[in-house]
């Protein structure tokens, strides 16, 4: 069974058919049938024959034979000239090793700087955080600390000196303020009792079961393991703190 050969295939093989280079017998036969039966195809065939006739007749102008005798000599001369490696070629191997090596070293330096800096930044940030904490701790408003101490003093339960002793960093400053406040309290809060103050604080803290808040318990007395008074006061909301202070100052009237 012959496979159908398309007209495009026949046309594509026409140059080889005309020039006598077509080996495929099936194609040759199909082309001959098409030439015989198709006017357009026959015209194509005739024009292509003319083209090949011209190509067969036309020649390129050849150089003289001496040209080819000299060509090999000139090629050898060129080979001799270029066979000596240039400076760049001699350095070629050197550059082939040096440039990749330099690139790697440069990359290493860049990466080290990037990651090294990040580590330093992290450490610096950590240091800063620690410093800030220390500063914050150091910079606890003297007034609030003093207010707790005032409460203690009012309550007359714990000598201010003991409290100060448990916070070494604040000793010197606190002692000075205590001296000052003792004078103020003595003048302004003569009548406030421990019970009233404790009750007020207990109400504000809001946990009646808290052993720190009881009639007898010394809220202001700092025992080992208990939350200290200063912290308790700090835990209060600003409104609560303000209320306590207001109470204290009202008592002055």
């Amino acid at each position: 069974m012959e496979s159908k050969i398309s007209k495009d295939q026949l046309l594509e093989n026409l140059p080889d058919y005309v020039s006598g280079k077509l080996d495929d017998e099936a194609l040759v036969k199909a082309i001959e049938v098409e030439i015989a039966g198709n006017d357009n195809f026959r015209r194509e065939h005739e024009e292509m024959k003319k083209t090949f006739a011209f190509l067969n007749a036309a020649e390129f102008v050849s150089p003289p034979e001496s040209y080819f005798s000299n060509l090999s000599v000139r090629i050898n001369q060129k080979v001799d000239q270029t066979s000596e490696p240039s400076l760049w070629e001699r350095l070629g191997l050197f550059w082939k090793i040096l440039i990749p090596a330099l690139s790697l070293i440069l990359m290493g330096i860049i990466l080290y700087n990037i990651y090294g800096n990040k580590k330093e930044q992290t450490m610096t940030q950590n240091d800063k955080t620690i410093e800030q904490k220390v500063v914050v701790e150091k910079n606890v408003p003297v007034e609030k600390t003093d207010e707790k101490i005032v409460d203690k003093i009012v309550d007359n339960k714990e000598p201010a000196e003991d409290f100060a002793a448990t916070n070494e960093g604040k000793n010197i400053r606190i002692k000075k303020r205590i001296q000052k406040e003792k004078v103020n309290i003595a003048d302004t809060l003569p009548n406030i009792g421990t019970f009233e103050l404790s009750e007020l604080i207990a109400t504000n803290i809001g946990d009646p079961d808290d052993e720190d808040v009881s009639e007898e318990a010394d809220v202001l007395y700092q025992e080992e393991g208990e939350e200290n008074l200063e912290e308790e006061f700090m835990e209060l909301t600003p409104e609560q703190q303000e209320e306590i202070l207001k109470v204290l100052s009202d008592k002055q009237i």
Partner: protein, 195 residues
């Protein structure tokens, strides 16, 4: 071994001798292929001076790269590939349509078997031929030269140009049609006798 080598020696023997340091082997390779390489390039660039330069460069390239030739293809295919690539690069760089040699006047060279009228006719035909080929795009030109002048198979052409066989056939057909179209515009076409 090099003493027994001559221009008709097998290509692989010549290459082996060259790789062992025989300059004579390289000279034999040059003498064996210089005309072929020259004409491959000449029919591509259509200019003697350019063909001369490129032929030398091709052999220079061959000198440097012969030790890399592994024998996976025919040696001539390898050489042909270099020549065609250099020609295509040259054409792409310069995009010359036609450039006739000025310093080498081959018109003084007379064919002994032609009378003056025939000589003029021949030169005219040559000029028309070169102009016709110059209308072809670079790849079609390469395919046309390889198929028509070098009689290479489409498989060989596709290997050299690294393209498909079907594409090469189409290129050849279109090249012939373009030459035909150019010739039709010339009055010479009507007077062409078909043998």
């Amino acid at each position: 071994m090099s003493e027994h080598l001559n221009i008709n020696s097998d290509d692989f023997d010549l290459i082996e001798a060259f790789n062992k340091g025989s300059i004579n082997a390289f000279n034999l390779i040059v003498r064996k292929y210089q005309k072929k390489i020259y004409w491959i390039i000449r029919k591509m660039v259509l200019n003697h001076d350019d063909a001369d330069d490129l032929t030398q460069e091709v052999f220079l390239k061959l000198y440097r790269s012969l030790n890399e030739f592994r024998g996976e293809s025919k040696f001539f295919t390898y050489v042909y590939k270099i020549a065609v690539n250099y020609s295509l690069n040259h054409l792409n760089k310069n995009k010359k349509i036609l450039s006739r040699s000025k310093d080498v006047d081959f018109s003084d060279i007379k064919s002994p078997d032609k009378n003056p009228d025939e000589e003029i006719d021949s030169l005219e035909r040559t000029e028309i031929l070169e102009k016709a080929i110059s209308t072809l795009p670079e790849q079609q030109r390469a395919v046309f030269n390889m198929r028509y002048y070098e009689n290479l198979s489409y498989e060989e052409i596709s290997e050299i140009l690294n393209k498909s066989v079907g594409g090469m056939k189409a290129n050849y057909f279109h090249a012939i049609k373009k030459i035909e179209k150019f010739l039709k515009s010339h009055k010479k076409f009507e007077t062409i006798e078909i043998n």
